[in-house]
Amino acid sequence: MTDLAHSATRRRASFGGWLIADRQRVQTVVTLFVLVLMVVVFGLINGRFFTVTNFQNLARNTAPLIISACAMTAVMVARGLDLSVGSVLAASSVVAASLAVKGVPLPLAFLGGLVFGGLIGFANGWIIVRMRVSPIIVTLGSLNIARGIAYLITPSAILVGLPPRWSDIGTSNLGPFPVPILIALAVVAVYAWISRRTKFGKHIYAVGGNEEAARLSGISVDRTLIILYVLSGVMAALAGIVLSTRVGSGDPNIGIGFELAVIAAVIIGGTSLSGGEGRILGTVIGAVIIGTLSNGLNLAGVEPFWQYVAQGMVLIAAVVLDRRVNEQVMRLGARS
């Protein structure tokens, strides 16, 4: 074998080694491949898919999902689940909107929404940890409570009389970048930093990997979980503010089914349902896949009923492909 061939083999081996060294990394790369494939296909179907305005549109629409999905990733890595995010999103946006209608300055109104989201999150975490109740049950309960609060706060289905600058966050751009996606990217950066660079991040993975072992090694499992649920509530509230400033209203009906999209984004992104594994970057790609699918199908002019079928099929295919390639790569890794 020539030196050149040796060098190429070494490069391949080192790339494979880098990839295989981290199962999560494989998963992220595969998910990214699925996304790129979708983008190429949708771009070929309709040239307008590749326009700057469409990417702005896509970014604006995907931002709330990314924000909430980051928090959900951390919760699921710690073997939790938060089904209340859609309702918290709605209730928090209604809290902020109703404060704004009453003349409270917008920053304070938004802060009020975030605090409300944090309180619901705290209640979720506290009950789950202290009362030892399943997160599914607790957050299913708070899903109903938060939606009920949203309806109780609003005098009717949509608040009117919002200040003119209400829509600034949701509709304005900073250069070519819609503000919502910049907020989402800031959230991604913070969560990525927490999960990879901080002690708290390590605690999250430790709690999800083996709660008892984490407890025995001195980690405050209860505090970790409560903080994660508080953050999940705050991020759902932030997503709600971004969404309601985009649609220009405080509406208690928004976010119905949002929790399922968030969980789907997290799972597509490779976070394990049994906890201990997950990566923020993968979740972001998962969220973008969901947003791209909806946007691409609309641009392709697919009939609405077929869109349901197509969305379901593509999501299943994405996860199946992800698992298959993952298995193959790991097998190769084991062989080498």
Binding site: R48, N57, P155, I158, L159, V160, S167, S249, N298
Partner: protein, 376 residues
């Protein structure tokens, strides 16, 4: 704070919005819309342009009978002293919340006991509330079906249990009980006519490209869409329907759907929203795309809820045609029909059709609509 005072605040805010809007120009979009506004249905200029548009599919459309005396509040009611059950599709919608408010006022005025059941727009919940109503055995039931087919056995069960039942809004697919409903085809058809009248007055012969923010699951909504298209194409036969997207009937889903549609077809300059969430989602999409201007084109819809009134009465907004779905008319008609049913004066064939009143976009027109349908 009580819900009633909340509603008052809400209405005051809506009224303020309309009043506080920048002064309307004498030749501005609102003035043009008011001048071109009509309560008359338009007839097809070219029958070929509308021949492919489906007729009404929701089962009970095209009746000519008018609401007449059914819309008058009587001096006394046979419901006095009775126990009445009112079901609503979902209290999350302004229309049903207003229905509840009107019925609560009627209960107070005429002295009957009212119990309101919320279907939460969920078939399972509606099924359960039917069981609850039967268990409670009230003297009379005003029932709002969620699904035309599923409601037939639901109404029959209540009738078999000896209850006096009328249905309102969406109708059972069989004639099983007296009913109140709207003509879901001709009401939106009138919106289509008024949208086309405004479009011609503002844009002349500029080609019209239509997009629809739809909710394809519901037959009633398909009537709305097809009625609108029939009306619009009657006056502008050259208009082309570019795309229909599923906006889910809620603002947070309608908004990205409308945004995608505008991306796919930037030539679209006429958008019909099948309800107010759909048109408000479209308005938000136009704002995000920097196209929110009456010079962009025209948005129209049906429902007539408060937030849309601010758009309709503003020179800055492209939303310039709207027909109302009248909660007061539905409430009073259903109340009178239920009273007549308790007295044995109706048969299962008795029906009351309430209108889809087109709303004149002037301050007076909006005020008249709000005062009648959402009184303080």
């Amino acid at each position: 704070m009580t819900r009633k005072s909340n509603i008052n605040q809400w209405l005051a805010a809506a009224a303020l919005l309309v009043v506080a809007s920048p002064a309307l120009a004498a030749d501005g979009p609102v003035a043009i819309a008011a001048q071109s506004f009509s309560t008359d249905l338009c007839q097809p200029a070219d029958p070929n342009a509308v021949k492919e548009i489906p007729k009404g599919v929701s089962g009970f459309t095209g009746y000519e009978s008018a609401a007449g005396d059914w819309l008058t509040e009587p001096s006394s009611s046979p419901l006095k002293g009775k126990r009445v059950a009112l079901t609503v599709m979902g209290l999350g919608q302004p229309f049903f919340l207003a229905i509840k408010g009107h019925w609560e006022r009627l209960a107070e005025k005429y002295g009957f006991e009212l119990k309101v059941y919320d279907g939460r727009f969920d078939a399972g919940t509606v099924q359960k509330l039917v069981d609850d109503v039967i268990s409670d055995a009230p003297d009379a039931v005003a029932f709002a079906p969620l699904d035309s087919n599923a409601s037939v056995p639901q109404v029959k069960r209540m009738l078999d249990a000896g209850l006096k039942v009328i249905t309102y809004n969406v109708q059972p697919s069989e004639v099983v009980a007296p009913r109140v409903f709207a003509n879901d085809y001709d009401g939106p058809r009138l919106v289509g006519c008024n949208t086309a009248r405004y479009y011609k007055a503002k844009f002349g012969d500029k080609p019209a490209h239509i997009g629809v923010v739809d909710l394809p699951q519901l037959p009633q909504v398909q009537d709305r869409k097809n009625g609108f298209l029939y009306g619009f194409l009657s006056l502008i036969p050259t208009a082309k329907v570019e795309q229909t997207v599923d906006g889910g009937g809620v603002i947070d889903k309608a908004n990205p759907a409308a945004a995608d549609m505008l991306q796919a077809h930037p030539e679209i300059n006429v958008i019909f929203g099948i309800n107010n969430d759909s048109s408000l989602g479209t308005v938000a999409a136009l704002k995000a795309a920097g196209s929110y201007s009456p010079d962009w084109g025209v948005v129209s819809s049906v429902d007539g809820s408060e937030p849309v009134m601010a758009e309709l009465g503003s020179d800055a907004s492209p939303l310039k045609a709207e027909s109302g779905y009248p909660p007061y008319d539905f409430s009073v008609a259903a109340f009178n029909l239920l009273g007549a049913t308790v007295e044995g004066k109706t048969t299962k064939d008795t029906q009351v059709i309430v209108g889809y009143p087109p709303i004149n976009p002037t301050a007076e027109g909006i005020d008249a609509w709000v005062k009648r349908q959402y009184p303080r």
